[in-house]
Symmetry: C2
Subunit: 254 residues, 2 copies
DNA sequence: GCGACTTTGTGCATGTGTTCACAAGCAGCT
DNA sequence: AGCTGCTTGTGAACACATGCACAAAGTCGC
């Protein structure tokens, strides 16, 4: 399975003819990222190979689902044996496009922005933060996490110069859309939005949103529902978390 | 349509018979929280009523989906007219259990923990942060966002005392599971986990996970896929964001 | 080299979520 | 009252995701 040709190339004749097979389900992509993290941990501990059963347990998913997910990227397992950790890591990184470095810009250096900027090149390398922006004149020029803060008026220019491919919006809601527009203008292809607003973007740009209030409210819903009639839950013991999977509705709830 | 009788009215004989009808799709719950935010904004601007079309546009979703989502909580619209903003807000709050206050505890007062603690009672009231914890002796007693930091050894006791219902884990991955266990011991029902680990919990506890690295990797995947063959995307103009919906795979991507 | 055992990869059935498209229902005008 | 126009609420079709269960395909021991 060379080149992920895909995309939306469709057949004009058939009504809703879906493109070729090569489409990896959005939900599977999210899980591949999780598998990658688990695998990296295993590799550090010197584990050379894993079975789908072991890996699934460690990632908190069903083993059949895991195998199906892996099958989307090719056949790298050995029947009767399992998967080689290193091979799997390489392949997942390839599919996720982690062989390339993706330069990240963080806009809005408040509490959250600080946290993001100091995240240290972002977990598990591959996502160097190369630009910071804010409106506050007192912050301009001050280095945060080793990088000086620029003014948001320079977003487009700086992002173009530094070839930023991912923009992170950590501004107050009111400023988010304007910031978003500048990022798009600066050639940013993907945006991770922490501001509680629905961004309007050209559809060449991908947006993912992380909304803490929404997360809390979803949890609140479950508390409420539980308080209701439901309750009969037997004294069940520990097991893998009954994780809510957002599917792709935003954050990855494992 | 009185009482949401619902659903999958099924046969009690069937093995894994699910509880009563009350099942609102997980994905719909996440969106209801979004609608609520949009509606609040409208109310502040003095808007008295909205049509499903308007609200859907503002929330970045399909209007049919919006109507179906709202139908899960009852019939509060008027045909030919639309919905009354206030009524809808009340009903969504009721369903999400926001009439009750949910006390929140934040564990791990690093960069992210600071940001969370200072979030100010958390967006749109209803989620007061009532306890902070960390291991670092230098932090104990220091007030962050007006609240003193306690030692993680006291998690269970303090959470029980203050009736914390939601625990937020913002610790390094290595500490997450231990912290989680203490929270559960302290009677916490729901956990929002920012640490990149799969938590094991009794299935009476609900876990949602927000993983920044995973979010970035998903975006990376889309960049990579795009760089491939796909490209033909016509010069399409602005429109509502082609938001990736995590469904419920975690974060709410709108 | 062969058989027994193990684990992958996947076809199929099930379940969940999304979208279409339209009947039902209400407001307002005549 | 009846008619017109608009918007809701939902049945039914579709698309997507999950999980079972098993054949295919490899390893290991003899």
């Amino acid at each position: 399975m060379p080149a992920v040709t895909d995309g939306v190339g469709f057949d004009p004749t058939v009504p809703a003819a879906r493109d070729r097979a090569r489409a990896i389900p959005e939900a599977a992509v999210a899980r591949l990222a999780v598998y990658l993290r688990v695998l990296s941990g295993m590799q550090e501990q010197g584990v050379g190979s894993v079975s789908s059963e072991e890996l699934a347990a460690a990632a908190g998913v069903n083993s059949a689902k895991l195998r199906k997910d892996l099958s989307y990227i090719g056949s790298y397992g050995t029947r009767g044996v399992g998967y080689e950790v290193e091979v799997l890591i390489d392949q997942i990184e390839r599919i996720l496009g982690l062989t390339r470095r993706h330069s990240v810009a963080v806009v809005g250096i408040g509490n959250l922005g600080h946290a993001l900027a100091n995240y240290g090149g972002f977990p598990g390398r591959g996502f160097p933060v190369t630009a910071l922006f804010d409106v506050d004149a007192d912050l301009i020029g001050i280095p945060v996490g080793g990088l000086p803060v620029n003014h948001i008026d320079d977003i487009a220019r700086v992002c173009t110069e530094r070839e930023v491919s991912i923009g992170v919006i950590a501004t107050p809601p009111a400023a988010a859309q304007a910031v978003c527009d500048r990022l798009v203008e600066g050639g940013v292809e993907c945006i991770l939005n922490f501001a509680p607003v629905v961004l309007q973007v050209p559809d060449t740009v991908e947006v993912r949103k992380v909304d803490l209030a929404v997360e809390l409210q979803i949890l609140s819903f479950h508390v409420a529902r539980r308080a209701d009639g439901a309750a009969p839950t037997p004294p069940q013991v520990n097991g893998v978390a009954p994780v809510l999977d957002r599917g792709m509705d935003g954050v990855v709830v494992s």
